[in-house]
């Protein structure tokens, strides 16, 4: 199958391209960019007039809910959501049921995902057995089974000795450890940022220092062990300052934020909107502004969706009892564009935060469209507005604080390895 995508605006941040260029695909790979190769006969010509062609998005956190939580979402529904959102590679955290702590589970997940022929799935293995924070997993075996790194998801890992040993062991093999910094004691029972809104609504609170204390400990252990660490879902100004200093010091750390944290603050909880019950909690407007700034100046490397589909019943509960998380795969691109537009960041730099940058964190040679690369790409209309509504989402999770928002930027087509895996149905 040979495809010619013409008349589009190609944005390929890693290769420094933002210009009108045609893209030629053959045998699942990018055959040429710009001029048509000699003897190229396209089986399909796609007219991308008015559209942006960019590398498929690389999402650093998307929960597919398998195994264990199929009533919340299935691989089928969430993989469709991924490609509908232009996501062609995604990392799934190990907090499934059972957790991804055995090679067999990882192989099964990889196999199930591959058979759907949609986005590429990169599981994170559990850092400790059953994510209980006591015994290490067989990291090397898990790596061989397909794990791209090791994480403790959102489960507490209070024992710093276990954490240090896990980092040492991972460093032995050069594996990256993914950690979301949160002190388990300071966060205990908390459901919202310790600020004005939690004070007023009487919600048990999580102070910002829950993040900065845990992050300080992690950074000290990075110095001690030399492990590569990816810091997940930063939420506070203090956390940003620590990362900025750690990078200046030359520590091997990278970090991401969830895309909703670039837009929302504790104020969005309003009158107990359980869609805003998120982990980490939405913090103050000053924190949010610090995150936005840190994205622009490169302190924060990447934006992820932190996609967490939750069934309706689990959200129709009092705020603290409602399950945490928001659906996000289909909102990652438009919300990233919204951040760029609001802050004056060039489109290409914004797209890098969801393509080339996360690929660099994963040490994968994707997230760009150089010649010879697998043809994972996305075509989107940067001008098209669409309304976020339950019916407009493919994910089984309808839970998002952005319900009712008009967002700009609509994915029209997604290709993985040169196959069209998603095409927005024509509007009649």
């Amino acid at each position: 199958m040979k495809i010619h995508i013409r008349n589009g605006r190609l944005i390929d941040p890693k290769n420094g391209i933002d210009a009108q260029r045609d893209v030629f695909i053959a045998a699942g790979k990018v055959a040429a960019v710009g001029a048509m190769p000699e003897g190229f006969h396209a089986n399909r010509v796609i007219d991308a007039s008015g559209l942006v062609i960019c590398p498929g998005l690389v999402d650093l956190s998307a929960r597919l809910r398998e195994p264990g939580y199929e009533y919340k979402a299935t691989l089928e529904s969430e993989m469709l959501a991924a490609v509908a959102g232009g996501v062609t590679s995604l990392v799934c955290p190990p907090d499934t049921d059972p957790p991804l702590d055995e090679p067999g589970l990882v192989e099964m997940l990889k196999y199930r995902a591959k058979s759907l022929n949609q986005a590429r799935v990169y599981p994170l293995g559990a850092l400790t057995q059953k994510l209980a924070g006591e015994r290490l997993t067989e990291m090397a075996e898990l790596h061989d089974a397909g794990c791209i790194g090791f994480s403790h998801a959102d489960m507490p890992l209070s024992d710093t000795l276990v954490l240090m040993r896990a980092m040492q062991y991972a460093a032995t093999f050069g594996f990256t450890v993914w950690l979301r910094p949160q002190d388990a004691y300071l966060a205990r029972d908390g459901v919202a940022h310790d600020g004005e809104v939690a004070s007023r609504l009487g919600l048990p609170a999580i102070p910002s220092c829950a993040e900065s204390i845990a992050l300080s400990a992690i950074l000290a252990l990075v110095r001690e062990t030399g492990a590569h660490v990816h810091i997940c879902r930063l939420s506070s100004r203090e956390g940003i300052a620590l990362i900025r200093a750690a990078k200046a010091e030359g520590l091997p750390v990278t970090c991401d934020i969830a895309v909703h944290h670039a837009h929302l603050s504790e104020m969005d909880i309003g009158f107990f909107d359980s869609n805003c019950h998120l982990v980490p909690p939405l913090r103050s407007q000053r924190d949010r502004d610090a995150l936005r700034e840190a994205l622009a100046d490169g302190t924060v490397d990447a934006i992820c969706s932190d996609h967490t589909p939750v069934d309706d019943d689990a959200k129709l509960l009092p705020f603290a009892e409602a399950e945490v998380g928001a659906t996000g795969l289909e909102l990652l691109l438009p919300l990233t564009l919204k951040w760029a537009q609001e802050t004056g960041v060039p489109l290409s730099a914004a797209i890098a935060k969801v393509t080339a940058e996360p690929a660099r964190i994963l040490a994968l040679n994707n997230g760009h469209l150089g010649v010879g690369q697998p043809a994972d790409l996305c075509l989107f209309d940067p001008e098209q507005y669409w309304k976020v509504e339950p019916a407009s989402l493919n994910s089984q999770g309808r839970n998002t604080p952005f319900t009712g928002f008009e967002l700009q930027g609509k994915v029209r087509m997604t290709l993985v390895e040169g196959h069209v895996v998603y095409e927005l149905p024509d509007e009649g």
């Binding site: 600020g195 939690a198 004070s199 007023r200 609504l201 919600l203 009092p318």
Partner: protein, 322 residues
């Protein structure tokens, strides 16, 4: 801030969920209406027919005797049919969700739910969920709000002090966990009380308490100086077991209300407590039973205030007949 979920399209009170965001005129209207109900209790037949044929469900997911009883009396004096449900002991323990319980009761033609729940926001959740003709009164949700308690406290203060715009009010105790304190603070600041103080150790004050318009004191002697109203908060015994406080003895020594500390307030200061009291923990018996205590008046006024809230929500206010 989104639309206030307790007001209908015409800006009228549809539910009473929190004092936060209600205009002063609405609060005054409730207090004035309560005034007109005070006399009902003194009649030979302690009833008015305003809510005849209406079904009011007291839906208590958390145990309560006093609040539930005063709501029940208030509803009965308005001639409503009252159904009491202690849900904590029945359906919830069988796994039924909060909203399933509400749906089932709504199907029994409920006109009003009076709800108490251990989680902040439970009353808002129910109010968003029920059909538009059903009214919800929050009788206490987690640490968030207890609006009828705050209203009866305002009624009591107004009864004894008349003009609220010249008062210094001190709230003493566990604001962090107190729905009563949060609602009182909103009510006091909305009604124009110029100085609201909160007196407590740092472990019992939420991080952004000042943003609610109060001044924080840690020294009770300074905090009580020249105040007109002292509101003591209940300290729950489980707060003594964790890391919040070392002991009830030390708490009483530094934050309990004794006659010596009371003497620092204005000589005509009144002492209030939402009940139930822990004598010897937050308040000395001689103060609780003393001449400056208006604690029992609060209970009496509570019935009139709850009658006012119920009748206003149902659109049947006391007129000449009351």
């Amino acid at each position: 801030m989104r639309n206030n979920p307790q007001l209908n399209k015409n800006g009228e009170l549809q539910h009473l969920l929190t004092i936060d965001g209600l205009p002063a005129s609405t609060l005054r209207h409730i207090l004035d209406t309560a005034e007109s109900f005070l006399g009902v209790a003194e009649r030979e037949v302690k009833k008015v027919p305003l809510l005849r044929g209406k079904a009011i469900f007291n839906l208590f997911f958390e145990p309560s005797t006093r609040t539930r009883t005063t709501f029940e009396i208030a509803a009965k004096r308005l001639s409503a049919d009252v159904i009491n449900l202690n849900v904590g002991t029945s359906s919830q323990s069988k796994g039924e969700t909060l909203l399933d319980t509400v749906d089932n009761l709504a199907a029994m033609q409920a006109d009003m739910f009076v709800v108490r729940h251990s989680q902040s926001g439970a009353a808002h959740l129910i109010a968003r969920h029920v059909a538009p003709h059903i009214h919800v009164v929050n009788a206490g949700d987690g640490r968030h709000a207890h609006p009828t308690q705050a209203l009866l406290d305002m009624f009591t203060i107004r009864h004894y002090k008349k003009d609220l715009t010249r008062l210094r009010v001190a709230i003493v105790g566990d604001m962090l966990h107190s729905r009563v304190a949060r609602s009182q603070i909103h009510a006091l600041t909305t009604l124009g009380v110029p100085e609201v103080r909160v007196i407590a150790p740092k472990t019992l004050i939420p991080s952004c308490a000042e943003r609610m318009g109060v001044q924080i004191y840690h020294d009770m002697a300074k905090g009580l100086k020249d105040v007109d109203v002292i509101i003591m908060l209940r300290l729950q015994s489980e707060r003594m077991r964790g890391a919040l406080l070392p002991s009830s003895q030390e708490y009483f020594k530094y934050y309990g209300l004794t006659s010596e500390k009371l003497a620092l307030a204005r000589p005509d200061a009144i002492v209030m407590h939402p009940g139930p009291m822990n004598r010897g923990v937050e308040i000395e018996s001689s103060v609780a039973d003393g001449v400056q205590s208006v604690i029992l008046s609060q209970v009496t006024f509570g019935i009139a205030v709850r009658m006012a809230v119920m009748s206003i929500l149902m659109g049947n206010e006391a007129g000449e007949t009351a």
